[in-house]
Symmetry: D2
Subunit: 292 residues, 4 copies
Amino acid sequence: MPTAQLPLDHACLIVHGTDSPGIVAAVSALITRQGANIVQFDQYSDNPAGGAYFQRVVFHRPGLREALPAIEADLDETLGTGFDLRWSITDQSVPKRMAILASKQDHCLLDLLWRHRRGELPVEIPVVISNHTDAAADVEGFGIPFVHVPSVAGPDKSASEARILAVLADADADFVVLARYMQILSGEFLERVGVPVINIHHSFLPAFIGAQPYRQAKARGVKLIGATSHYVTTDLDEGPIIEQDIVRVTHAQTAADLERRGADVERAVLSRAVLWHAQDRVIRHGNHTIVF
Amino acid sequence: MPTAQLPLDHACLIVHGTDSPGIVAAVSALITRQGANIVQFDQYSDNPAGGAYFQRVVFHRPGLREALPAIEADLDETLGTGFDLRWSITDQSVPKRMAILASKQDHCLLDLLWRHRRGELPVEIPVVISNHTDAAADVEGFGIPFVHVPSVAGPDKSASEARILAVLADADADFVVLARYMQILSGEFLERVGVPVINIHHSFLPAFIGAQPYRQAKARGVKLIGATSHYVTTDLDEGPIIEQDIVRVTHAQTAADLERRGADVERAVLSRAVLWHAQDRVIRHGNHTIVF
Amino acid sequence: MPTAQLPLDHACLIVHGTDSPGIVAAVSALITRQGANIVQFDQYSDNPAGGAYFQRVVFHRPGLREALPAIEADLDETLGTGFDLRWSITDQSVPKRMAILASKQDHCLLDLLWRHRRGELPVEIPVVISNHTDAAADVEGFGIPFVHVPSVAGPDKSASEARILAVLADADADFVVLARYMQILSGEFLERVGVPVINIHHSFLPAFIGAQPYRQAKARGVKLIGATSHYVTTDLDEGPIIEQDIVRVTHAQTAADLERRGADVERAVLSRAVLWHAQDRVIRHGNHTIVF
Amino acid sequence: MPTAQLPLDHACLIVHGTDSPGIVAAVSALITRQGANIVQFDQYSDNPAGGAYFQRVVFHRPGLREALPAIEADLDETLGTGFDLRWSITDQSVPKRMAILASKQDHCLLDLLWRHRRGELPVEIPVVISNHTDAAADVEGFGIPFVHVPSVAGPDKSASEARILAVLADADADFVVLARYMQILSGEFLERVGVPVINIHHSFLPAFIGAQPYRQAKARGVKLIGATSHYVTTDLDEGPIIEQDIVRVTHAQTAADLERRGADVERAVLSRAVLWHAQDRVIRHGNHTIVF
């Protein structure tokens, strides 16, 4: 299965917690003594006088895989005392495993599959799950397993959600993308899935929350329509926003035109959000994101 | 007082009503037999099978002023039978009279005054009314009368609104622009003012309706902020949208940064809406606008 | 083969020539007496005092196919005397036949094929020709014939161009799209092909004319990169521009990043240019286009 | 004279040179031992394997003014051995002194003066120099000294340039902004001025280099027009680009319309470039800029 060329011996370190003096010095000293060289360093503090602190460092360390346990032990020791910080580190040569959930609309799904095949996304795609069978041939044409999990009529979705959870577990997914998946996932599902879930909403949130946003946009007579990619939480359409974009429309366009034009924005916005998540550029903080 | 160079002997005809066959033919035959030549012709029908019809024609007629009564009589006769249409015609060499209401924030106000001085807006500005005195010197520096109408504490604004209405009547205003005017106008005011009122709202409506939209935007963590210019109706922030635009923001920007960055979008959006209104490019239809 | 749902009994009439009084009246009277109703009317004159005149009218006429000969005869008669105008009329239920030429890069090609399958483009695609075989399986997966015409080494391309011309003639192509086709077509080819040829150039023309525009852009340190779709003429990269767009870049992006990011702009720009051409919205005039 | 509220006890440190391991660690250790806390940290390396290195750090140090000599000595010692780096440090509570050169067109000039008055730009404006007197009253209305230096006919500008240099020296300018200044400055002037000079060019460089770019744009039939702010070098229109932006135009707009519409882009682009320069966010490197 094709994947992007991923950089060997590069690690991405995320540090996140309460700001206090000396964090940059402590982390950079650690990286130097671990024989690594900083490639990229991003830092943000929402209030230098004791607010939240966010840091993303990419560093190069020959023989990274073997060195990781020692680096992790050093991080535990260095950041574990005198700071209120959490950290996570990833080997950038290991692609994240991205599972996709889709429905009838295929534009976001196909866009992700194409970009993956072109090597634009540093991910593996172990499985595409859909509650429709329309996209099966396309997905398999990309060499990716397709699983059909029909939606169940009525409010109790526990059976189909259990099936999806089992497929995701089998696929060992690191995160899940809802590529215009038209079923609302239950709070129980979100709790049990255990990995981030990224959605694309077909409006410029918080405008037009809920169903049929293009119809709502036409009714309101807006001059711009948009799309929003966000992490899914139990508050529908209210999760932390990763990326948004818009496109200009006119009175002469019908709701169907808006939908067609909007589809281009949706796939562009979702692909950027997925890329940034896969590159560990997005840090969640409350209902916000910091995107480095 | 400086104004834009306005085209002599050019008229703008707006036709608006129920679509039916033959409207374009009837109007263009009329223009031809009235000795005029079409310069620009825009037409839109929201449903050719009997929906609403919108038409804007700019035509050149030597000796327009003298010819107007005959043209108007012809329009009455031609469109008055067999069609369900309203029309209005304006001599484009006559600038509209635009009154401005402002408060403390001066960026939209100054932008309009400066564009007017540059000849970018085909309007006269007979008066600027403000509930603060801060901008008095600037306004008078542009050679434009400034009237201070202090806001009245408490819910009863009838006294200050009566004063504003009197000033607008004296100024013979054709339309009113709320250039970040921070008082909510009563339904009675809107009924009595008798001319269109254009507002600039500092958000991408319908997102962040109400007070302090930049603060709301920061709290929601959006990646784009915007501004919306709309006609004022008694439904606050719900009137027909004329123009909108947005600008990209990041997590690193504070609410104050958003406000500063948003001010640029506000003045750009408002100036476009005002220009288009002054050029008779905007037709209101229910809660929508057609912008030619 | 899937195509967009095309409107029955709708015609698009283009009128183009020297402006003079009475054109709108003559055309609209003709449409009315031919039993048709105007759906959309766009008009532009680059100088009302005798400049160039451009008009696009979409009208609805029950039984259009049968009525067309009479309408055409009426157009000949009406516009043939007293005016200096050319006209063309198309039945909008008949899709244009669009042939595609491609090379190794497949993002523009696949985007067009996928939009076509979704019904977004009112065209048939009789053939895809490439000087590489990479895309053969994809193209045939979309149910579209693929023809491999290898490029010939050396300056004399007449043999391969003759082969392409023969395939295009067999395909009865109404227009040709160069979807990142990396061979320069000779003047003789362009003369003999006899139909419009649309190209996508991977820069914001006229900046970075010639080879490797992303590399040129990186070298110049621009903050925006773009793409341009234009009609192909014998002056390389100098033909009439149909559509352009840009995307923001930073110092941190490599030339390869620009290329990847630019690919999204390229396919978006090309798809809009192709759509507008297929809808007869684009009129060529000298080295310009009027896009209604 | 009004200026923006500038942060007390904040310094901005720029480090620029050849990349090598340990720079971040060395700088952040220095900041910590100097009793300061990092507020913002941006870093970029164009090639981690020994390319160019760029770093911007904002840090907070109580009693900064008194501490600066010690910090500077520490920087000399720390970065002077084992690294190939230059550094500069500024006290962010001290506004830069920005001189403006203008001509007849006032939109960029007035925009800068307004923004300055609103407190948007962390600068002082000691003088505005113009080769015309039109803007004198406006400038003095803002409380800023205006100096008229008429342009000299003929190729020898040395007299007027000498006068400008004298005024700039008197004004103790830290940088110079050409706000649509329509005289070409000689290489000798640029050499002697000794401070950065920022220009706004009214096109999307490198398109339409030279005179009358809007006329060139109209002639080429582009669908977007733009503006570019760049540092001035002896290669006309070829200096390092700081910021660019564009706006969409159509066939229906005349060259005069493009000029009017472009003026909005020019003032927006120039104001961003000036802000970023004043905040020490722009690092020049060869013919490029790194903008943090």
